[in-house]
Symmetry: C2
Subunit: 316 residues, 2 copies
């Protein structure tokens, strides 16, 4: 099977969005008056996924981490491109990968509109396109003193799964399956992001670790924050671990793909209603301060040392 | 230096197009009424470039091959994203790469609006965005019986350079520098593509080899073609080689990033004037036939065997 057969067999489906199929570019018609949100993420084996991941889950995750960026901006997903470097043509891999990829694409009503395949060390690069009404995108720069800090879903399970794979911790069957799902099948908070337009003052998705990603908001907004470490939403399983590991994984685990966002106290009820409306739990974990920097406290309000580093692809 | 320092130091420049900098997505405002043209290309060492390429030229080429896709659609470039996997942080490499990349971006008035960096085997994935008035994009599907077949620039020099690198041919200093430039510094025919809107009936860029890429037009358009092999535009240097190598490299060399396009005979003068207007040579090399398939002839009109294969990333 050659390059063009591969594309035809695994990645070609009927399209309603692309005007002209099989050309050098995909042609798309933006919705009149909308802004475009664009994001690109590259996944490399050993960094973003392990060799043990099922191809179907890898297809899901590759698109999910990109959709998570659209979610953080409150954008409505429209389309994506896929560039894929493969060591060899492995039909079972491609079949599973495409199945996972398209299942998530279908769930969000978006189309694969173009891309590239080549031989090379396994590498997956997806670029997503979404739309957002002018001025309504959630940015990192809008947090204000006194705002609540919220987190969606739960944090830390993906990191727990990684530690089990690394052999530093062990978990029994069902528990491992559950945290492995968190790592391999993250659910991008697309509906929540859209529901937060006009309510949240800033947002970011948690890819490198909650504290580091919240740090981006603080930096862009020129504010600080106090986070109550033990108020972080954690799975029942994570809560069986020593408190220090719960804090480590929740605050700085990474690979969570939840949203961290801020909102004025006056919209607190509306935020909670919006989240309930899309079926996503949100938890208030802190507040924005005028004083720069990030302060951690425990449940008793005692200040904790801020020693929870964030993930950096060139440092870890 | 970490991931965020790397992005800040090498890839951050003042932006006029992006609404909101440093967010999870880049936000862009499409020009009202225009369609968006999107293309994504991934470059892998040993496949799309050799380890001997200067970083500055690699930065140029990575963007050039993407702009070439916009050129083939007649689109006006607007912006691009860059995802980069690097084995390690090599400042000299990044400095050169960024210089070559931004020099070409500046030449086309486009901005880097977002992207990703990660550790991993060297891989460069660029996605470009352009705009085109509705219905005016050049497609592969519009060729009609009787149309002229044109090629821009010259073909075959990039392949000649590759063969010198492979050691199958040798060239003296100046000659090698010249073909090496063709391989490492392709000039995307963006202005020509735009000038051909409303004139050309179909177009494609030559990345895998002229015959193979013209074959995409024939397939999409449901037509055939006769190409006069020895009318293919070739550099003076290529013309010093045996005729069989000239044909091989010109017809199927690949990596040329010229445009192959068709146009009705009635627009021939207008096509030539449009090309002259943007300072790009175009050469008429054949005609579109109703009979499917591609026929090659020599200068005397004798039919040549069609044995010139195109490049396939999973077959070569």
């Amino acid at each position: 099977m050659g390059e063009f057969d591969l594309i035809k067999r695994f990645f070609t489906r009927p399209s309603t969005q692309v005007l002209g199929v099989g050309d050098d570019c995909a042609l798309l018609a933006p919705t009149a008056g909308m802004q475009w949100a664009v994001s690109s993420d590259m996944l490399v084996e050993g960094r973003h996924f392990l060799s043990t991941v099922a191809p179907e889950r890898l297809g899901h995750k590759a698109l999910a981490v990109n959709l998570s960026d659209l979610a953080a901006c409150g954008a409505t997903p429209r389309a994506f491109t896929l560039a894929l470097a493969l060591p060899r043509i492995d039909e079972a891999f491609l079949d599973g990968f495409a199945r996972g990829l398209f299942a998530l694409a279908d769930a969000h009503g978006i189309e694969l509109v173009g891309g590239d395949t080549t031989a090379g060390p396994l590498n997956i690069c997806i670029t997503v396109f979404g739309e957002v009404p002018p001025g309504q995108a959630l940015l990192r720069s809008g947090a204000q003193t006194g705002d609540d800090v919220f987190v969606s879903g739960t944090l830390g399970d993906a990191r727990l799964a990684l530690e089990v794979f690394r052999g530093t911790l062990s978990l029994l069957g069902d528990g491992f399956d559950s945290v492995r799902r968190a790592m391999e099948l993250p659910q991008p908070r697309v509906a929540l992001g859209q529901a937060l337009r006009g309510l949240a003052s800033s947002a970011v998705d948690v890819s490198d670790g909650m504290l580091g990603d919240l740090g981006h908001i603080l930096q862009r907004s020129g504010v600080g924050a106090t986070v109550q470490a033990d108020s972080l939403p954690r799975s029942a399983l994570l809560q069986t671990l020593p408190i220090e590991l719960q804090r480590q994984f929740g605050l700085a685990g990474g690979d969570d793909y939840e949203l961290v966002f801020t909102a004025p106290e006056s919209t607190r009820a509306a935020v909670e209603a919006a989240a309930a409306g899309v079926g996503v739990a949100v938890t208030r974990v802190g507040r924005i301060d005028a004083e720069p920097g990030l302060r951690l406290t425990d449940a008793q309000g005692q200040v904790l040392p801020a020693r929870y580093g964030s993930f950096d692809h060139f440092k870890s």
